[in-house]
């Protein structure tokens, strides 16, 4: 049995039974999963976790799913890499990269979708659905396949074909909607209300978002049961950011770590940075924007957890940082060239944001810092195409030597 007690409104505190419900009937505020922490405390220990599987399900005591129902695709327990090379460049002596781009469908979405799809099975849904332009679509489709469920993926019809290949291959029904992003949003909201489908980020959202907490648990465990001094997290809906904070605080409350003193920094791309704008203007009310960014996986103009992200920044003493659009690819290159990790645009935003935070002193040189890399570079290859530049030569040895010398000269000139 899971340790879930109820669903609770994050605004007015009204409590509800554990059902596929996502907004409060009274104030329309979002619902959040509430645990019986006394029951959790009776069972959980570092030893118990350490003996668990090397996946996110080693933390099942703190997830809203019956352990027996867990949909295990070996998601999670991804590498936490000491990033000495990148750290040296940025002036950070204790920098780590949480490389979550190596999950089964190559993004952190597998964590949230694992929980949502397992919960959907518990609730006896036969259809798993989402609205997505990329990572989420791939993850939902793969989990739907594994769970033996029908899978529906909705997206605007003008989306590049390549973006949805990663969903179609798993046998999902792809629905191209002839409309704007806003219209697809509204259609899916109505579908979720009128069909008995498990929309992972709509009616499954309270459960879905809990999966992100495992990114806090893992990092703390991998650091030898301690919270980092600072983290940098990519910001789209803000859900991942707020749940990492929740996860760290749960570990502290359960005495699995000593303190949750982490300064939480959220990074958005300049072309879609409503949370950064609210932070800069010193208001918790996030004004929706129309996204115009290279970082498509972060293009959420009206973030569901924007308000709570600002609260998380306040409570943790963190900040919000915008990565200039032209520095996103630079961030991708920097991580690849220093640490051998190829990330997608969201990762470029994180690295570029990290560089700004280090420069401004918001992250100090000796802070134990973790940058969350949540998606794989192979997903957004098109953005880095211009910076990949092979040396062309004939098979003749002399030609090779000449062309290589020319390249070296050019590089020397450009570096000079």
């Amino acid at each position: 049995m899971s340790n879930v007690k109820s669903l609770r409104c994050r605004e007015c505190g009204s409590e509800y039974p554990v059902e596929p419900q996502y907004v409060c009937d009274f104030c329309f505020g979002p619902l959040e999963v509430c645990y019986d922490y006394d029951a959790v405390a009776r069972d959980i220990s570092r030893e118990r976790i350490t003996k668990g599987p090397l996946t996110m399900w080693r933390y099942h005591d703190l997830l809203p799913v019956d352990a027996e129902m867990a949909l295990d695709m070996q998601t999670g327990f991804t590498p936490l890499v000491r990033a000495k090379n990148l750290g040296r460049l940025l002036g950070l002596n204790n920098l780590y990269i949480k490389n979550d781009s190596v999950n089964p469908t190559f993004s952190f979405k597998d964590r949230v979708v694992s929980v949502a799809s397992a919960k959907a099975l518990e609730f006896e849904f036969d259809t798993l659905a989402c609205a997505s332009t990329g990572n989420l679509a791939g993850s939902v489709s793969a989990h739907g396949a594994k769970a033996g469920m029908n899978t529906m993926v909705f997206f605007p019809s003008d989306l590049e074909r390549g973006k949805i290949l990663g969903a179609g291959i798993y046998g999902a029904t792809l629905v191209a909607v002839d409309g704007t992003y806003d219209q697809v949003n509204r259609l899916c909201s109505e579908l979720a209300d009128n069909h008995r489908w498990a929309f992972v980020n709509i009616n499954m959202r309270p459960f879905y978002s809990e999966g992100s907490k495992t990114l806090a648990y893992e990092v703390a465990e991998q650091l030898g049961w301690r919270a980092p001094d600072a983290v940098v997290v990519p910001g789209a809906s803000g859900s991942l950011f707020t749940k990492i904070w929740k996860g760290l605080n749960e570990l502290k409350d359960l005495s699995l770590i000593e303190t949750a003193h982490t300064k939480m920094h959220i990074a958005q791309a300049e072309g879609c940075s409503p949370i950064v704008t609210a932070y800069d203007e010193d208001t918790p009310h996030v004004r929706p924007v129309t996204p115009d960014t290279i970082a498509k996986s972060l293009a959420i103009g009206n973030p569901a957890d924007g308000f709570y992200s600002i609260k998380t920044i306040e409570n943790s003493g963190g900040s919000a940082v915008a990565a200039p659009e032209e520095e996103v690819v630079e961030g991708i290159q920097l991580l690849a060239e220093t640490e051998g990790i190829f990330t997608e645009t969201a990762g470029g935003v994180v690295i570029s944001g990290l560089r700004k935070l280090a420069k401004s002193g918001k992250i100090q040189p000796d802070d134990l810092t973790v940058a969350y890399i949540t998606g794989n570079g192979l997903k957004t290859q098109e953005v880095v195409e211009p910076v990949v530049d092979p040396v062309f030569t004939t098979p003749a040895y002399e030609d090779f030597m000449t062309n290589m010398a020319a390249r070296k000269e050019r590089n020397g000139a450009s570096h000079g």
């Binding site: 605004e11 996502y22 907004v23 009274f26 104030c27 329309f28 505020g29 979002p30 979405k109 989402c130 609205a131 997505s132 332009t133 990329g134 990572n135 989420l136 909705f154 997206f155 605007p156 992003y181 806003d182 697809v184 949003n185 509204r186 899916c188 909201s189 929309f199 980020n201 709509i202 959202r205 789209a236 809906s237 208001t283 009310h285 004004r287 929706p288 498509k296 996986s297 972060l298 293009a299 959420i300 103009g301 009206n302 973030p303 569901a304 957890d305 924007g306 969201a346």
Partner: protein
Amino acid sequence: MVRVMARRRVRFTFPEQLITEPLIYNLGRKFEIVTNIRRANVQERVGWVVLELEGDEDEIERGLEWMIAAGVRVDPITGDLIEG
């Protein structure tokens, strides 16, 4: 004729220049829509209101189009649902 009554939960975001306009009142006057406010925040530069609209499905659509044309942003109360 049987009329299909519908309920729609939405979030209106008002830009600075519209904050003082009685748009929700007018929405209920111009269209056969019952407006039921649940949560709101109105400040000097921005305001938002979370509310439920009840009425004929088409009438709600027309009402929302009118609000959008007036310059109000209309979103699902859940925030954006399309994720990357």
